[in-house]
């Protein structure tokens, strides 16, 4: 009886104790300023996350851009993320230097700056 009780309790604790891994929000980024200029290799826009793959200095980077409403508010359209487009991402990179991941706060395309998070700039 006691064994089952402890098994159940430890299972519940294991669920609670699962490490909070990086994903949403800004907790997983390094809170610095980061700039990445490169060429779009692939774009997957829309919910749950807009993901743009960028080739820069021979490295392949993943940039998290806004949800559709945020991109629209900034003045960005899906067509602007066409493969081969050169762009600069201003944002925060992953706190883990081994991860080539950046979350965009603003995007510069053809000299024009589009603010995804005006309140963070």
């Amino acid at each position: 009886m006691h064994l089952i009780k402890y098994a159940v309790l430890s299972l519940l604790l294991a669920v609670v104790a699962l490490p909070a891994l990086a994903h949403h929000g800004w907790r997983w980024t390094d809170s610095g300023d980061f700039e990445l200029t490169g060429v779009i290799a692939d774009a997957r826009l829309g919910n749950p996350h807009g993901i743009v793959t960028i080739t820069a200095n021979g490295e392949t980077w993943t940039a998290e851009v806004g949800q559709p409403w945020r991109n629209e508010r900034a003045g960005l359209t899906d067509a602007m993320f066409a493969t081969g487009t050169e762009l600069t991402i201003l944002g925060e990179r992953s706190a883990d230097p081994a991860q080539l991941v950046v979350k965009a706060e603003a995007i510069i395309i053809a000299g024009e700056t589009y603010l995804l998070y005006p309140e963070r700039m």
Binding site: K5, V8, L18, L21, L45, N47
Partner: protein, 146 residues
């Protein structure tokens, strides 16, 4: 198979969900609500069946909690299907998602297998259920981190 998932992703409904500002997050929230109702009642019911909690009779616990669990399951299944079609190819190839689906199918089959048994014969089944459903929940959450 990949073409099938790509076709699902290309449907008007999937495209709408990918672009929506409020509907997608609301479906996401409803999925969590379904899981909360399902796993919450499963845990309460199984703790009673195992005998860890003693309030109410096991029969009453089943009468009270099982309909809520089934409702939660239905909500989770419907909203889960809607979330799936938005990125069908990615989810279908995701190992956590595959394990999660297997666990859910096993858990449903296991529940249906035992649904007509009297409470006194459900102690082992309740313990198994208490492991499979939370395991499916964990695999589900891990999809976003793989």
């Amino acid at each position: 198979m990949t073409e099938f998932f790509a076709a699902i992703e290309a449907t008007t409904l999937a495209e709408y969900l990918r672009r929506s500002r409020w509907v997608y997050p609301l479906i996401n929230a409803s999925h969590i609500l379904g899981i909360a109702l399902l796993v919450g009642t499963i845990v309460a019911m199984n703790l009673r069946l195992i005998g860890i909690t003693r309030l109410s009779s096991p029969d009453d616990a089943i009468i009270l909690l099982r309909p809520v669990a089934i409702a939660g399951l239905l909500i989770a299944l419907i909203t889960g299907a809607l979330l799936f079609i938005v990125q069908a190819t990615e989810y279908a190839a995701n190992r956590w998602f595959q394990v999660k689906l297997l666990l859910i199918i096993s858990a449903i089959a296991h529940a249906m297998w035992h649904i007509r048994l009297p409470p006194e014969r459900l102690r082992l089944a309740a313990t198994v259920s208490l492991i499979i459903w939370p395991a499916a929940l964990i695999c589900g959450r891990m999809i976003a981190y793989s």
